[in-house]
Structures are given as structure tokens and as C-alpha cells.
């Protein structure tokens, strides 16, 4: 059992939990994820590790409520335990000194981006971070990203904080201004697809972190397969990071919708149950 030691609401539908998982905390590296299961009936939910505190044996996870399972996870209380937590899964980000790097995060993807920002800064890179959300109160981890960035650009759709518009526009401005050795983008698939487009226009290699539907997370089922450079890869073991330019985005986005009707049914049934 894995005890929740802290649970905080960051925004209306984004939550942060700290949980006890000492073995995973000592092994976790930027870019890796865990799979958790709340209870016996639960799905295996993949979530990126936002921070690992090896000495305290704890993991920090930030997630957004998008369906039944995440809604249920948002209801956990401090002191409660999760039935299963397994990890750290996936290949870690290659942290080294690239020179100048650009990191772009959108929405809850900022939580997955943060450990990479931190790692790259500590590895001596000049770090330019761009984070965006719909509006001011949804823009998470601003201070922490600022701490590990040489330059932090905030972007909101409605202009309530920082630049008004899309992260891709901010990206293009920076790319025009100075040479970037390596870029990362983590966020909604559509955002990553367009970030790839912009980076590619400037001939800058860009990594994206894919989060397809998963079951085991250990390469055993093939459900998380993505087409990368015409080849079938399993995001849980070959990724989650891939070069954005090699991703078959349309196929990826389609597969993300595979269980949409079932997800809606389950979420509605859960909400009805919560009300009664």
C-alpha cells in the first residue's frame, strides 16, 4: 500500500499528491512515469513523476481530472493509501549539457516538463522555458519553473497573465531571436504536434512526451503502440519521449480516442453516484 501524505487542489481540476513509494523515489529520473491503481476495481493509470524526494521516499504527482479514474483520484484524502504504484517506468530523458535548450509546457503537461527543466538547468544548460494555459489561474508551477530557468515566458489563451496567445507563437519568437540546440514540448497532443512543426521550421530537434492509452506499462500488451518513423514502438518502454518530427500524429491522436464512449459512460455513472 502506498500512503498519500499530502493532497492539494492546484486549480479547479488539477491536483497534486505526494505519496510514499520509497523504492520508486530512489530510482526515478526526469521523464519517467508511474502507473497507479486506486483500488481493486481500478484501472492502471499512468502519470508522470513531477518530483521524487529520495531521502523522504516520496513522489509528487500532478494530474488533471479528465474522467472517472482521475475524478476518483482527486477525492483521495491525506492518510489514505493507493493499492498499487509501480515504476519508475519508461526511458528517462537524456539529461546532459546541450548548450541552449527550450522547454515548452502546456496545461497539466507542465508538471511532466518541470523535472526536465530542473535536470537540464542542473546539467549546465541555458534554459528557456515557455509555459502556457487557458488562463492565469490554470498556469501551474510558475515559481518552480522560474527557479530553474534562465528565461521564463508565461502564455495564456486569454491574456490574463503573460503573453496572450499560444505557446507556439512565443516559441517562434525565441527561435527567431537566438539559436537553440535542443527543444522539448509536453502538453496536449495538438500542442505537441504544432510545437514540432514550429521547431522543425527552424531546424531545431524537439522531443515530445507521448501519453497513449496504456495497460501494463512494461511492454507486455502493445496497447500503447505509436508509429515512430514508420516503425511500431511501444511508448511505455521505448518512450515516452520521442523525436516529434518522427511521430505519426494523426494515428496517435486517433488512438487516444479509442475508449471515448466508454470513458464518458464511466464518468457519468461516477458523477451520478457521487451526487447520491
Amino acid at each position: 500500500m502506498f500512503k498519500i501524505t499530502e493532497r492539494t487542489a492546484l486549480t479547479d481540476n488539477e491536483y497534486q499528491i505526494w505519496l510514499e513509494a520509497p523504492r520508486i523515489a530512489t530510482k526515478a529520473q526526469p521523464g519517467q512515469f508511474i502507473i497507479l491503481r486506486i483500488d481493486e476495481q481500478g484501472e492502471r493509470i499512468p502519470l508522470t513523476i513531477c518530483e521524487a524526494d529520495a531521502s523522504a521516499g516520496k513522489l509528487r504527482i500532478i494530474f488533471q481530472v479528465i474522467g472517472k479514474s482521475t475524478a476518483q483520484l482527486a477525492q483521495v484524502k491525506t492518510g489514505m493509501s493507493l493499492l498499487d504504484v509501480v515504476g519508475p517506468l519508461g526511458k528517462p530523458t537524456e539529461i546532459k549539457n546541450y548548450g541552449t535548450v527550450m522547454l515548452v509546457g502546456g496545461g497539466v503537461g507542465i508538471a511532466a516538463l518541470f523535472p526536465i527543466v530542473k535536470g537540464l538547468k542542473q546539467a549546465g544548460n541555458r534554459v528557456i522555458t515557455i509555459i502556457g494555459a487557458k488562463s492565469k489561474n490554470l498556469l501551474i508551477l510558475q515559481e518552480e519553473c522560474a527557479k530553474y530557468s534562465d528565461e521564463l515566458i508565461l502564455v495564456t489563451d486569454d491574456g490574463s497573465l503573460g503573453r496572450k496567445g499560444l505557446v507556439t507563437e512565443a516559441m517562434a519568437d525565441v527561435l527567431q531571436r537566438e539559436p537553440i540546440n535542443q527543444a522539448w514540448a509536453i502538453g496536449p497532443s495538438i500542442m505537441m504536434k504544432f510545437c514540432t512543426k514550429v521547431a522543425t521550421q527552424f531546424n531545431v530537434p524537439i522531443y515530445v512526451s507521448l501519453n497513449p492509452i496504456m495497460v501494463d506499462g512494461t511492454g507486455m500488451c502493445g496497447g500503447c503502440r505509436v508509429t515512430i518513423g514508420e516503425k511500431i514502438k511501444f511508448a511505455c518502454v521505448d518512450g515516452p519521449e520521442f523525436l516529434g518530427a518522427e511521430v505519426d500524429w494523426d494515428g496517435f491522436i486517433q488512438r487516444m480516442r479509442q475508449y471515448h464512449p466508454e470513458e464518458v459512460t464511466a464518468y457519468q455513472a461516477y458523477q451520478v453516484k457521487q451526487v447520491h
Partner: protein
């Protein structure tokens, strides 16, 4: 004493019309009377060929004699000497290709062989209902790690615990059992039976740690430091895809995912359980092994109107167990022999709407001795389908292997291990089951686990002698 009947004593089954709509076990088992009747058919051969054809060399005439004499306790004792998982073996072993194939009774034209598997199941089920007092064993001979809690790992674990070792089994998933838990469906192998047999192994002092991905959560180096020896029985573990166009359409599955969603995650009980499956009307299953049968029969139970198996060779070459094939036909599973898929056809939203196939003919035999299927040009046709399940085999999972390059593998990526000792290129590390042989059967994996337990015992004892000297 009734006259010895020509045929096996029939086992009661759920009727096909009924069982098509539920996941409950198909074969209902013998009662004691039926068991005794069947046991009386055994000739009690002195140099019994069935024993030699059992991968774990169970004294088959021995336990059958005890059934006949109404001594179930005695029958259990015999079985327990050879196997830790008899209720599982009695259900899923391919007896028709092993013990029953060489049964002397069955050699005469008129007689069917003794139903050895069904009798094993009878004793094992009885045993689960009449649990033994566990005898206290001290586990002070050494510490052994087992990676993977499938049939191979569990067998090695049970044997090593009996020999007096402290045993820890590491399992990546949330539930122990490996393929017995995520792969073989409830209607063929109830999960409660699997759990009970695992519980008995745990009662012998074996510790199972779930949610432990070796290579990720714990490294091989840590294991080597903490344990005197280690057995790798992780299974093959990664699905192959044919790689035809359209593989990333929604509705296309590897059987590993399809069956894991159903068995491990209880997808057939959605939304009571959270893991869904896509509802399907027309299902195509590709492959001809037991996994293909399991997928097809599961799809039927989930409500598919048509389920069609595509197999590239003819019925004669079908690798699945005959019994499973017959059950599937009774359940209205259709077969398209000499057929291979060439493309998945997409609908408007990237979903599967049909499988384009081609007819095959059998050419010259290949290395495996089976005639090689060759496509017949211009014979393409489309089978409408909203779900396609590829059950075409597995390769070696790299998660652990990649973190431990010292361990030699062969050209297919499987671990190199001596067939007779399970020893690998690294001293103290043994390996067996599908990660060595490629996908095979539960009982062969168990056989390797037994050998490994014996060899590990020897290895640890020798090592202790040398280190004390």
C-alpha cells in the same frame, strides 16, 4: 467392477448456448464416482510410458491407483511430490500430446486413453477443498530471488521453499500468476483456482512482492547483492504485430492486450471494474494457437455477433489443442483456413471496418517441417470487422534484459540457458520457461522451474562449502 469402457468417462460441461454468454468455467469436473470409474480404466503399467512423457514426471499410475481405491489423501500426496500447481495443469496441459498420447490403453484402436488430465484436476480440486496443515519448514539454507510469478517461477519458488530456502518472488503486475492470471481466460482456468494454488505456495513460506519491475523498481545488481541465487522466469512478454497497413487503427489489438484487459483487469465486468473494452459486433482473430482460441471465445462471450479466426495454414496444422478447437466450434466460432490478412481497412474516424485478406496455399515444408503457406495472387477479399485481434506470438521483453547486458541472449533475444541445468552465462543466475524457449506451454515452463530449483540448491550448497573453506 464394471467392464472397462472404450471411451473416457465424459466430463460435464456448460452447454454451448449457455456458456457463450458467460465467463464461467466450461468443464465442470468429475465427482468422486466419475473419477473412480475413470481411474479403473488405467492399466497400471509397470514401466508406464505416461510418466516419461510428463515434463515433470508425475507418477501417474500411482495417483490414479489411489483414486480408484478411494484414497484421495494418498492421491494428493503422490501429486504433491511432483507439482505445485496440479489444479492448473489438470486444466491447461496439452495431455493429448504428452501423457495421454502414449497411454497404453489408448494404443489399442478401440480404446481412448485414460483421461489423465481430468483425473489430475479431480485430485487437485479435492486438495484445494481439503487444505493440509502446513508443516513448519525453516528457511535457512539460503536466499533465492525469483523473477516472474508465472508457472515457471511459482514452481521453482515452491520447490525451493520445500528445500528450506528463503524465497522472494518479484512480479511486475499487481497480481501474481503471470500468464495464468493475465492470459488464460476464466472459462478455461478460473482465477480463484490460480489464487488458491498460489496461496498454497505462499503458505510454504514463499514471499511474493507485486508491483516490482525488475530493471526499474529494483535492479539485477541489487538482487545479486541480496540473494544467493536468482531464477529468471519472466515469460516471453512482448507481443508481435504482423505490421500490415492499418495496425494503428482503433479496434486492432494484440491478443496480449485484449486478454489482459479481460482477465487481469476484469474488462468483462466493465463498468463495475474501470478498465473498458470496445464493444464489438464482428471480430476477426488472427492465428491458430491456444491464445487465438482464447481470444475468439472471449470475444464471443463479450457479445460479438460473428467471430472469425483466420489461419494461414489448414486445419490439419492448427497448433491449438483439439479440445479447445472443438469447444470453439461448439460456440459458433467460424474458421477461415488458408487465409492471411494483408491490410486493415479504416473507417472515417480511424476505426477498423474490415480486414483485407488473401488466400494461401501450402508449398514446400519449411525449417519447422510444416508446409510453408504461400499467397495466391489475386485472391484478395474483405472480411467486415470492427475488432481484429492478432494472436501471432511473442518476443522477448527487453525491460529487464536491457539493464543487464552481462546476461547472454541468443539471436532471437531470448536468454541463453543450458537446457539441463537452466544455468545462464552469469554464475548464480538461472533462467527457464518462455524467456529461454520462446512461447511454449505452461507445463514446459514448470518443468524448467523444477530443474532450476534442484540446480540452484546444488549451486548454493557448493558455494557455501567453498566460501567456508
Amino acid at each position: 467392477m464394471p467392464k472397462r469402457s472404450y471411451n473416457k468417462t465424459p466430463m460435464r460441461e456448460q452447454a454451448p448456448e449457455v456458456r457463450q454468454h458467460n465467463f464461467k468455467e466450461v468443464a465442470l469436473g468429475y465427482n468422486l464416482q466419475e473419477g473412480q470409474l475413470e481411474a479403473s480404466r488405467c492399466l497400471q503399467c509397470k514401466d508406464a510410458p505416461c510418466i516419461l512423457h510428463c515434463p515433470v514426471m508425475i507418477d501417474i499410475p500411482g495417483f490414479i491407483k489411489q483414486i480408484k481405491e478411494d484414497d484421495m489423501e494418498g492421491a494428493r500426496k503422490v501429486l504433491n511430490r511432483y507439482t505445485n500447481l496440479p489444479a492448473i495443469c489438470g486444466r491447461v496441459c496439452p495431455q493429448e500430446k504428452q501423457c495421454e498420447m502414449v497411454c497404453r490403453l489408448g494404443q489399442s484402436k478401440k480404446f481412448e486413453p485414460v483421461a489423465i488430465g481430468k483425473l489430475e484436476r479431480l485430485v487437485a480440486d479435492w486438495s484445494l477443498e481439503h487444505p493440509e496443515e502446513s508443516i513448519e519448514i525453516t528457511h535457512d539454507k539460503g536466499k533465492v530471488a525469483i523473477i516472474g510469478s508465472g508457472p515457471s517461477g511459482l514452481t521453482a519458488a515452491g520447490d525451493l521453499a520445500k528445500l528450506g530456502y528463503e524465497v522472494v518472488v518479484f512480479e511486475a503486475l499487481q497480481t501474481a500468476g503471470g500468464v495464468l492470471t493475465y492470459g488464460i481466460p476464466e472459462f478455461r482456468l478460473p482465477k480463484q483456482i490460480v489464487q488458491k494454488e498460489i496461496d498454497q505456495i505462499v503458505a510454504q513460506g514463499v514471499k511474493i512482492e507485486t508491483d516490482m519491475v525488475v530493471g526499474k523498481t529494483i535492479t539485477m545488481d541489487e538482487i545479486m547483492e541480496d540473494f544467493d541465487a536468482c531464477y529468471i522466469g519472466v515469460g516471453a512478454g512482448t507481443p508481435h504485430f504482423m505490421g500490415i497497413p492499418g495496425t494503428d487503427l482503433t479496434g486492432v489489438y494484440a491478443s496480449s492486450e485484449y486478454l489482459t484487459r479481460i482477465n487481469l483487469m476484469h474488462g468483462y465486468e466493465f463498468p463495475h471494474y474501470d478498465t473498458p473494452l470496445q464493444p464489438a459486433k464482428n471480430v476477426v482473430v488472427i492465428g491458430g494457437g491456444n491464445v487465438a482460441m482464447d481470444s475468439a471465445r472471449s470475444a464471443k462471450r463479450l457479445g460479438a455477433e460473428t467471430v472469425t479466426v483466420l489461419y494461414r495454414r489448414s486445419q490439419e496444422e492448427l497448433p491449438a489443442r483439439v479440445e479447445e478447437y472443438h469447444h470453439s466450434v461448439e460456440e459458433d466460432i467460424q474458421y477461415n483456413w488458408l487465409t492471411s490478412p494483408v491490410e486493415y481497412i479504416a473507417g472515417d474516424h480511424g476505426q477498423l471496418v474490415g480486414v483485407k485478406c488473401i488466400r494461401m496455399k501450402l508449398g514446400e515444408p519449411d525449417e519447422s517441417g510444416r508446409r510453408r503457406p504461400l499467397p495466391i495472387a489475386g485472391s484478395e477479399f474483405v472480411v467486415p470487422a470492427d475488432t481484429a485481434i492478432e494472436a501471432i506470438g511473442q518476443g522477448a521483453n527487453r525491460v529487464m534484459l536491457d539493464t543487464f547486458p552481462e546476461l547472454a541472449t541468443n539471436r532471437w533475444g531470448y536468454v541463453q540457458a543450458d537446457e539441463n541445468t537452466c544455468a545462464t552465462s552469469v554464475p548464480g543466475i538461472f533462467a527457464g520457461g518462455d524467456i529461454v524457449t520462446g512461447a511454449a506451454t505452461v507445463i514446459l515452463a514448470m518443468g524448467a522451474g523444477k530443474i532450476a530449483a534442484k540446480e540452484i540448491d546444488q549451486y548454493v550448497q557448493n558455494k557455501q562449502v567453498t566460501t567456508t573453506v
